[in-house]
Symmetry: C2
Subunit: 321 residues, 2 copies
DNA sequence: TGGCGGACTGAATTTTTATTCATTACTGGA
DNA sequence: TCCAGTAATGAATAAAAATTCAGTCCGCCA
C-alpha cells in the first residue's frame, strides 16, 4: 500500500522528468517536494527499474565487438569499422576511413603525432582525411625511416608531410632508410643532425599512429624493395617473431624479439613507443590476425582501429552482419 | 560512411555515459573530446533515437488515467489509486490512503490547510495518515461547519483537530453548524467572534482538502441528521444542482447553482476556494460520478484524488487491471 | 526512560551538465 | 573572387542536478 503510493509518486516524477522534459526544479514546484527529494526519487526510479534506458545500436556500429576487444586485451579504446567484404582492399578502405574520423575528432592542438611511415592503412587514413576543420596538432614526427628504394622514400615523406599539412602541423621528417645496410651504416646515419633531431622528438610523441606488420612478405614490402632478404625473414620467423610495429618485432605472446636486425633499424623503439600518451594501432585483414593479436598481448597499442571481420576473429567470434 | 563514423562515436559515448556511468568530464578525458562536445553528442543520441528511455509502469499505478484526467479536465495533478473492487468501502480505503500519502509528501511548513469537515473520504484520509514524519503545516482551518446533530459536530471537530495534531499545526475550528436553520440564524452565528475569526482565515488557506458531494442522500448525510429536508433536496435537484463542495452546489456543467439554501450554509464560498493555492478534491465511487465530473468542469479542484474505477468512468474508458 | 543507530529531510553547497559566446571555416551565390 | 549565412568548435559561464551536512524522528535495546 504505502509502497504503491511511493511507486506512484516515483512514476509520476519519472514521467515528468523524462517524458515531459521538466526540470527537477519545476517538478519540485509543481509537486511541492524539494528538488533534493526529486533527485533522490529519480535515482530510485533507476534503481527500481522504473526507467529503463536502452541503447539502440545503429547499423554499421559494433559496440559489442569493441567492448570485447577492450576487455579481452585491456585496450583503452577499440574502433571496429563496418566493412563490406573480408578482403584487403575493402578493409583498408574501412579502417582508413575510421582512422581518419578518429583523428579528426580526437586531435587537440599541442598534439605531437608520431606516424610510422609506411603502412597501407595509414596511407589510406591520410587519403581519407577530410581537410581538417579546425587548426589541430602541433607537430607530425616520422617515427620510422623510409625505404632504401627512393620511390618509397618519397612515399613515406609524402605521408608525413601530407598529414602535417592536413593537421596544420610542423612536419618532422626522418631522412633515413628504415633499415640500414649494416650496423655501421646505421651509426653513420644517426650522426646526421637532422636525423638526430627527429629521433629526439620520439619521446615527445603524444599520439602515435602505427600500422601492425605480419612477418611475411606483404605486397607492399615486396614491391618496396625487399627490405629484408628471404634469409633475414626466415631468421625472424625462427626467432619466433610474429609481427612488428615500426619494424620492431615481437613474438606471438607479445614479448619483444631482439635480433641483429634491430641494430640496423632506424625507428622509434618499443619502449619509446610506450612512452606516448596514446598509441593507435591501425590494422586489419586475415593475413595480419596473428600479428595484431601479438601486438595487443604485448600491450603496445592503446587504441585499436580495425574492421569487423578481424575484430570477430580476434575474439574468436563470428563477425556481425 | 562519415555518417557511420559519427554514429559509432555517438553510440560509444552513449554507452560510456548511460551504461558505464561515466561523467561527461571523464569521457571527455578518455576520448580527448571537449566536455561541451560530449554533451552535444549525447543530445544527438537522444534526437537520433540511439538512447531510448522507457518507463516501466509499476503494478498498481495508472499514469495513463492520471494523464487523461489532467488533460481532459485541465487539472494540475491527478492521483488514481489502486482499488480492489468498485465498492464504496474499498474505494474509501484506497483514496483515503492515497490522500494521506499525498499529504505527507507534499506538505511544507507555513502551509495553511483548509479541510471540509465532513466527508467520509477525508475521514479515511486522516485515519490513514501516518504520524507525520517531520513537523509540517502551520494551521488547519475548518472550512465547513459541523452538523446540527451534536454527535456529528464532534465528528467534524475531531477531523480538524486530529489533522492539526498529526501535522503539528494549530487547529482553527468553525464552531457552527454547516447549515443554519434560517438566514437569521446564520447571521446570528456569524456574529460570534470565534466563528468570524475562522472565516477570516478562509482567504489564507493555501491547501484545501475537500470532498465532493452528490445531490442525493448519502449514507452519512442520512445518518447525520438530515441536513436538508427531502423538499430542500428536491429543490436543489430542480435547480439543476449536480454536486457540491462544502455544501456549495453546482450544475452538471460546473456553473454554480444559487438557491436560498446558500444563505443558510456556513462554509467557504466557491470563490474563496478558488483563491487557495491548491484545492484537492478527494472522492470516488459510481454514486458520485456526475458530481465529480461537474466539479472538474467547474474548475473547483486543482488536484483530484480518486480510484481507478471512477477515473476510468470519468474518462469513459474501461479501468485498468 | 534514556541513548544509540539508521533513515529521511531540506538548505546549502559542490559537482555535473547545458548553453552562451566568440571564433573559424566552409558554403553557395552574386 | 568576395561576401553573407550556416555550422561547428572550445572556453567560459549559467543552469541543473547530486551530494553534503546538520538536524529530526524513529525504533530498538538496555
Amino acid at each position: 500500500m504505502a509502497r504503491t503510493n511511493e511507486l506512484r509518486l516515483i512514476t509520476r516524477v519519472t514521467q515528468m522528468y523524462y517524458l515531459e522534459g521538466l526540470k527537477q526544479a519545476q517538478i519540485s514546484a509543481i509537486l511541492n517536494i524539494s528538488q533534493a527529494t526529486i533527485s533522490r526519487l529519480l535515482k530510485r526510479a533507476v534503481d527500481e527499474n522504473i526507467v529503463r534506458i536502452t541503447i539502440n545500436v545503429p547499423r554499421g556500429t559494433f559496440p559489442d565487438l569493441e567492448t570485447g576487444l577492450r576487455e579481452r586485451f585491456g585496450l583503452k579504446e577499440a574502433i571496429v569499422a563496418e566493412c563490406g567484404e573480408d578482403r584487403e582492399e575493402s578493409i583498408l578502405s574501412a579502417i582508413g576511413d575510421a582512422a581518419a574520423h578518429f583523428l579528426s575528432t580526437t586531435l587537440n592542438d599541442r598534439e605531437v603525432i608520431g606516424i610510422s611511415s609506411w603502412s597501407a592503412s595509414l596511407l589510406r587514413m591520410v587519403d581519407s582525411l577530410p581537410p581538417l576543420k579546425r587548426v589541430k596538432a602541433a607537430r607530425v614526427v616520422q617515427i620510422l625511416g623510409g625505404m632504401g628504394n627512393p620511390s618509397v622514400q618519397v612515399h613515406a615523406t609524402h605521408l608525413t608531410t601530407r598529414l602535417a599539412q592536413l593537421t596544420g602541423a610542423q612536419p618532422q621528417l626522418l631522412s633515413a632508410p628504415g633499415v640500414a645496410s649494416s650496423i655501421e651504416a646505421r651509426r653513420a646515419l644517426l650522426d646526421d643532425s637532422f636525423v638526430q633531431a627527429t629521433m629526439d622528438e620520439f619521446r615527445d610523441v603524444s599520439l602515435a599512429l602505427v600500422g601492425i606488420g605480419a612477418v611475411e612478405p606483404s605486397r607492399m614490402l615486396a614491391t618496396s624493395g625487399n627490405v629484408f632478404t628471404p634469409e633475414e625473414l626466415q631468421e625472424l620467423k625462427d626467432s619466433g617473431a610474429e609481427g612488428d610495429i615500426c619494424l620492431r618485432f615481437f613474438a606471438a605472446d607479445g614479448t619483444p624479439v631482439r635480433t641483429p636486425l634491430d641494430d640496423r633499424v632506424i625507428s622509434i623503439s618499443l619502449d619509446e613507443l610506450k612512452g606516448a600518451d596514446r598509441v593507435v594501432g591501425i590494422a586489419g585483414g586475415a593475413r595480419k590476425d596473428r600479428a595484431i593479436k601479438a601486438a595487443l598481448l604485448g600491450g603496445y597499442v592503446d587504441i585499436l582501429i580495425t574492421d569487423k571481420f578481424t575484430a570477430g576473429r580476434l575474439l574468436g567470434e563470428p563477425a556481425g552482419t
